[in-house]
Symmetry: C2
Subunit: 367 residues, 2 copies
């Protein structure tokens, strides 16, 4: 893996590497440490204790100015008028065909100022392009902001100790302004796991070590370890990864994001017509939870096709991992709606090896 | 390095790995093999023989429809009315402030149809956003197109043998439609080296092995080897890498791209006002060729500052490598215009080690 100036360093990269980060991916042209010891070890620890994650690759797109709310409303089918200052909303962004451009968490910093905390695509270019084309009175840019996550059941105790007891009262998907390690941050109760915790938006990339260290030191008595968004935990929890489980080829109905959109919202939004049509006719495909039998050793580099009982391809696996807790392979797959009902028996062609598979519900139950 | 479905396979990935690709980067969310044996060995070979490169990561953005030319003109300060069907133009894309969004080669496929063969940023989102905002009658999307490059002084002989003698008459930055290995391609005389050669735009990603193999077999008597865009060769030749040597923070004057723009062109383009202003006042910074003395062992992970004779920071190194031919470190650096004249003596702070440095001209000469 060759690095260059094109691949920007995270403010937490030095600490992540010093603490044993051993496997990485690239995300928004930045290194994302994914494994320290193993997915399994870090999964067990994350579900019991507390971890510190370098997720600086969740870049921010700032939208500020008189037309900021109008622009944010235009690019998402979610009703952002309901997002108060100090609140966050998970909101798919869609193009005029309903295709998903990204699925950020949107933070409302002021009436006329937002951050889009993005998945892996150049949302700044999309939003700048739309704003330019419509002649909106806004400024769109990537500020110097890098999130650090504190995740796990002991996150509340650790953050209360470092930042103050008042942080226990921060509601899910709300944030406050704090000074931590002498530097101003936004502290949000959010994060890419189902184990609870916070995301801390550092606003000065020169202060990465200081911010890491203050949690590291206080965390020792809580059994704090370095970690990362965990493939096992996120699939068990049902967190979808943009670019992997859904792309611009999918609309929010296909991706199972109905509860994060409000297609009859009042404000103008660019995919209204497209999504109203999908709502009328029903989506052609569905992202489902799938259990796959047998041992799967191979890395999924090509598309693994999902087959119906006659062997006809009806979809693809998008993510998969071995779940130690469930004792089986758990996966997400995008399949034809006719084969998406919980309990449907299917099979998966894993580079030529056929494995039986069953659609499960969001909590991995059979019916 | 952890792969996932988010990081798309190249049609040539299997052949690149079978043939010994040993170091990679990610580019447009796709693996780009960069080294087989070493930069030095591949540099020597590239300058004498012929190489086959997996550059599928040079993705295409297709713009097609009645407003296609109007849109292409809008997003670049280059005069695209002068680009004939069958011709390519290197054309920086700029936002309304003149900031460079990308620097594609634009192929004109028909009067109303273009491909933007892009560097590493989501140009499709930018162009889709602008087109939506302006209500242009076009379709913008990423087609199934993956370039394979044949580069080096023997490329002409190899391509003539495989495709036909008529290919010797293809002019620089023109392309033809061909059938190679039974699959339709665009064959362009272009490529990311100064050693000559072709880029072959495969239009069916299932045919990657076949296309590779036909050149591989015919290439054996020309001493064909696998290769990649070569850091030594591209810096010697003066090829700038988007995201590394220039970003959205730079305008085409700062990046030394004056000869690829026509700021008084007739068509509407969005950065006209911004670039006219830079042309009037002169750019504040300049990307220059810099020779750096001494041995530089370190990987450039942080910004290496360029200092004036008093030790004051006046810029940053953007790329650098050891040149065996010139027997010194060659680099690109972006420096204040006041320090950009050929012959200016500067120094470079390489993570605390100070090295003397001199601005050179585009051919690495002192004056």
């Amino acid at each position: 893996m060759i690095l260059s100036r094109r691949l920007r360093p995270s403010p937490f990269e030095q600490r992540a590497i010093e603490n044993g980060a051993s496997a990485f991916t690239l995300y928004n042209k930045m290194i994302l440490p994914l494994i320290y010891e193993s997915y399994e070890i870090e999964y067990e620890h994350l579900c019991k204790h507390v971890q510190i994650w370098d997720v600086a690759c969740e870049r921010q797109v700032e939208i500020v100015g008189p037309d900021a709310l109008k622009l944010v409303e235009l690019i998402t089918p979610r009703d952002m008028s309901k997002c108060a200052v100090g609140q966050c909303k998970y909101a798919p962004l869609c193009d005029e065909n309903g295709g998903i451009i990204n699925d950020p968490i949107i933070l409302r910093l002021a009436e006329d100022r937002f951050w889009l905390s993005i998945a892996d695509s150049d949302v700044n270019l999309w939003v700048k392009g739309v704003a330019y084309g419509r002649g909106f009175d806004v400024r769109v840019f990537e500020p110097d902001v890098s999130p650090l996550a504190i995740q796990g059941p002991k996150a509340d105790d650790l953050v209360a100790e470092v930042v103050g007891e008042h942080t226990r009262d921060i509601k899910f998907f709300w944030f406050t302004d704090e000074i931590i390690a002498g530097t101003p941050v936004k502290l949000a109760r959010s994060g890419w796991s189902g184990q609870g915790g916070f995301e801390i938006y550092l606003q000065d990339s020169s202060k990465g070590n200081e911010l890491w260290d203050v949690f590291w030191e206080a965390g020792q008595k809580h059994n704090l370890r370095p970690g990362a968004p965990n493939l096992i935990e996120r699939i068990e929890t049902g967190l979808k990864s943009y670019g992997q489980d859904m792309t611009i080829e999918n609309n929010p109905f296909e991706a199972g994001l109905e509860k994060y959109i409000d297609i009859s919202k009042k404000a103008e939004y660019m995919c209204r017509e497209a999504l109203e049509e999908v709502a009328r006719t029903g989506p052609a495909k569905r992202l489902v939870n799938l259990v796959i039998d047998g041992r799967l050793e191979k890395v999924m580099r090509s598309d693994w096709r999902v087959l119906d009982s006659k062997g006809t391809p009806i979809g693809e696996v998008t993510s998969r991992v071995w779940s130690p807790r469930l004792g089986t392979n758990i996966a997400f797959a995008i399949v034809q709606t006719s084969h998406a009902a919980v309990g449907t028996k299917l099979s998966v062609d894993a580079d030529g090896d056929i494995h039986s598979a069953t659609v499960r519900d969001a909590r991995w139950r059979s019916a």
